[in-house]
Symmetry: C2
DNA sequence: ACCTGAACACCGTTCAAGT
DNA sequence: ACCTGAACACCGTTCAAGT
């Protein structure tokens, strides 16, 4: 599908072409397409190179290792996460709750669009520029809205736990839709085989309920740690 | 370390030994040891067989595929998760909050003991017996404590999101401890290079704060969905 | 029934050779 | 500088052969 390049493009010969056939961005973009379409296991260097119309080892002129490549794919995905809501916090706008909710929805929507890469995303920020941009935005916004720094770190972490966890384990979809699995073995799961069919609704409502509960709980904590008033953000 | 079997054990010859050298349980146990010690990537059929003192293909007399083997390893880990607290709910004991908290701690402690397998655990219950036992226990307990069935499904799912997410992305540990990564690029992450050193404390306090917030929020919701009284559990 | 070595179709990665 | 094919040390899995 992507492998049909003309002789002109290839410089009419083997070895070095007139103009580079590859670029890091093109490789990363093709890898994401492949991950989305066929899963992480489908991304082998030979297969990916094939999609790009080159031979396997060519990739190593642009990426050091496959791991680094996957990392770049993850970073490209994280680039879609909106953190602009945090920049508006501070001064008269202290509505961290609305910002956190909007960010969580954006984060989740991004991961839901690329489910096959989520297990890698969830492992931690690493050195990925967009992961750090996100952490920076969340932390900065929370502090500007009045959260003490130590608390802001925790809130950023726990929100990430919830969002990545929900994107990863699409709860309902994991249950077999074969009723005989449950019979007589699990006394309360008599209807569990129906979960698969309703999985999207269940996952979404579980996310919505969990997000709401989390924010309600954090609101109580915010009042406690800021002594109930709207104390200014602590200085570093 | 595990590969030194005597000639007696091996039946003094190749081919079929007097007594089986392998069993499914022994393979699964060895795989878990290997995963814990060296990570998921270290588990290849040849390497694992080597640890067990046999040749690679021997494993296929006991497991159908490597995927099934890893699934069994995950199930063995999930076997350590305590769900007994849910069995006590119902009748006069409606303290679902305490049960949920104790379960979440047990779940998290189990995953923390086997961090390398968490990415697989987090993907969903599948057909793994212990995953279904856990889902059954949580759901049954919540319903017995008065949660409507639809809500109980959601609460079980969202709790799992939070616990697996927190076990997966050890937030603080993911940040590089190299200060130069952040300089001038991320305005609020000036101290982020210190996160790695405090990672255990941060992860644990983020988990504790998040769990508390979640339970506080769910308490509000419980009151709303049960109309403020202690209405009996709905019948199926 | 349960193990073996040989073999198949793959991997990620290195490297000398080509332009 | 940027591509190629050949090669290396691996994979998961199948299978005929052995007891």
């Amino acid at each position: 599908m992507m492998g049909d390049r003309t002789a002109v493009d290839r410089g009419n010969a083997v070895a070095r072409p007139r103009r580079p056939l590859l670029s890091r961005d093109r490789i990363v973009a093709a890898a994401l397409v492949l991950v989305d379409a066929e899963g992480l296991d489908a991304v082998s260097t030979r297969r990916l190179a094939n999609e790009l119309g080159v031979s396997g080892p060519s990739l190593y002129n642009h990426v050091a290792t496959k791991e680094e490549l996957i990392d770049s794919v993850v970073d490209a995905v994280l680039g879609e996460v909106d953190t602009s809501m945090f920049a508006r916090l501070g001064g008269d706008d202290r509505d961290w709750r609305a910002a956190l909710a909007a960010w969580a929805e954006s984060y989740r929507a991004t991961l839901a669009a690329h489910p096959n890469i989520v297990p890698v995303v969830a492992q931690g920020p690493g050195r990925r520029p967009h992961a750090l941009r996100i952490a920076d935005g969340v932390f900065g916004g929370l502090v500007a809205a009045g959260w003490p720094r130590r608390e802001a770190t925790r809130v950023g972490a726990l929100m990430r736990y919830f969002v990545t966890g929900s994107a990863l384990g699409s709860f309902a979809g994991g249950f077999p839709d074969d009723a005989t699995v449950y019979e007589a073995n699990y006394s309360h799961l008599g209807q569990a085989h129906l979960l698969a069919a309703r999985q999207q609704e269940i996952n979404e409502s579980a996310f919505a309920v969990g997000l709401g509960a989390l924010l309600d709980g954090l609101e109580l904590r915010y009042r406690a740690v800021t002594s109930g008033g709207d104390a200014p953000a602590q200085v570093p």
